[in-house]
Symmetry: C2
Subunit: 341 residues, 2 copies
Amino acid sequence: MSKLTIALDIMGGDHGPPVILSATLKAIRLHSDFNFILCGNEAVINPALEKLLPEQRARVSVEHCEDVVEMGDAPAYALRNKKKSSMRRIVELVESKSASACVSAGNTGALLAMAYYLLKTIPGIDRPALVSAMPTASQHRVFLLDLGANVNCTSEALFQYGVMGSVLAQEVCGIEKPRVALLNVGEEDIKGNAQVKIADQLFRQADALTYIGYVEGDDIFTDYADVVVTDGFTGNIALKSTEGLAKLVISEVKRQSQLNLLTRAMARIALPLLKSIYNRVNPDQYNGASLLGLRGIVIKSHGNASADAFYYAIYQAMQEARMGIPEKIKSKIETVLLEQI
Amino acid sequence: MSKLTIALDIMGGDHGPPVILSATLKAIRLHSDFNFILCGNEAVINPALEKLLPEQRARVSVEHCEDVVEMGDAPAYALRNKKKSSMRRIVELVESKSASACVSAGNTGALLAMAYYLLKTIPGIDRPALVSAMPTASQHRVFLLDLGANVNCTSEALFQYGVMGSVLAQEVCGIEKPRVALLNVGEEDIKGNAQVKIADQLFRQADALTYIGYVEGDDIFTDYADVVVTDGFTGNIALKSTEGLAKLVISEVKRQSQLNLLTRAMARIALPLLKSIYNRVNPDQYNGASLLGLRGIVIKSHGNASADAFYYAIYQAMQEARMGIPEKIKSKIETVLLEQI
């Protein structure tokens, strides 16, 4: 079997190419079963590659791109005017099957627009969705989607998110029958808005999924479900507000630990414990949101990702490439649609 | 000035009348400037009142109610069939001006339905909204609304929530010009759904409010705004998911502290610090959500509130009664509507 190839946008991210390149070198060194295409300014990229061994360097090619998508570029503007950008190039490489997956830490809206425009959706999927893993009380992960790819969302789209999330949980986490739940404001049947109620009916008719009904916001973290489905507006706000609370916990640890000598001593003693807890509960920990539902694999890393976090996003791209996630979604949605006939 | 009166539903809540009565006795003892009407089963209530001093007992009257709204009752069912319930009675007492405010820890949907049906909204307000205070990094509080009174929500309703939240922040927290923000998935103008974009325009035209634009989910906790406005579906999920994350932090502290002797020792030493942090960041800490926009004050306590938490909800009812919140909202919405002419 020929090696799988990952295309990387070296220019994206708040911290610039050095952080992205550091993560990229790590991925090249650790994964000899993968090839890499690095897109961006070759004057920045080439010197970094001198640190690689010949065998490693042989698995890397560089595509020079003149342009960069800026964080403030509107998606439509980037789509029209940034045709020579590193971000566009990595998506083109996936489209032409020169790469199996691509990763960028750049402008989310622009990446979504380019990926949707160039790759198109899998038949049976109306719109792509952003998905990420969240921590749960039982050491498992739960996939939450959509995190903001679509702010307006039909019942059919919610149902399709359930199919896609189920495939991801099955393939990436090895869960035979992932439990799919619909995020709602209450467990009773009477609650919820119109889209959610109709989506609930669609899920109940799909035997190929393990649908467990509604969950409320606090159930995201209780290991009640493996996949939690919601519209992009609500999902984005659920993700961001829990990240906000995690940051508040950190700032409060700092503030309280500096109140007096006693609290300072307590905090110093408990520091390893506090760090370990933070690493477990921080929703930000699993960097890398997958854009699911397209005819190719696109991973969006956080803009402010550290080298470790960007490496995790590359690792996620490699995992999805190995599993062939888009083909698995295509097959699953066909099964589910045939059931409905 | 004659004493203000608070009506209390003694039968609501997951833990039953003992917890509610314990909080009620505390409020009676501490606040000699208030009268109280206790609604529920008199055979349960009267024995508890024997513990009061004569002066305290003189400020309390009991209204026997035969019926109880169950946690599982559908709102429409409760509205039609629970006319002799303690929950309905407290709202009737506010409607007839026999009480200035009422508090229940019972079924949220039923309380909303009864309050909306009996009290009606203030002129200029289409629908009531549930609001609660959330912690922020700067020791201030931020009011988040709507937390689930309306799952479908117009731009006008979002705007009205901003007016109501602004009044609450002004009166309860003494903030002269509360900063009102609209919850959205991004700070750029291009993002957001249609309701949010139109609401943004309405806010920009209102000189009587201090509108600061869009905020994202993580900004709720950063003291960027004093009032954060969103629809009831999103608001409920933001509240519940942050509560869920706070619970995950606790469970993770417990789990990690029991891993080995060292972590157990670290946790024991840091326990006061951890507790203090938890008390600060737990979104659940300020028990008691106000149902704003009605011609009377209705406070919904958490169903699983402890005696301390239910006492806080009573305290909140007393504060709003002293401030005359519904009249203040009426006056503010008139000012804002006049601006629009």
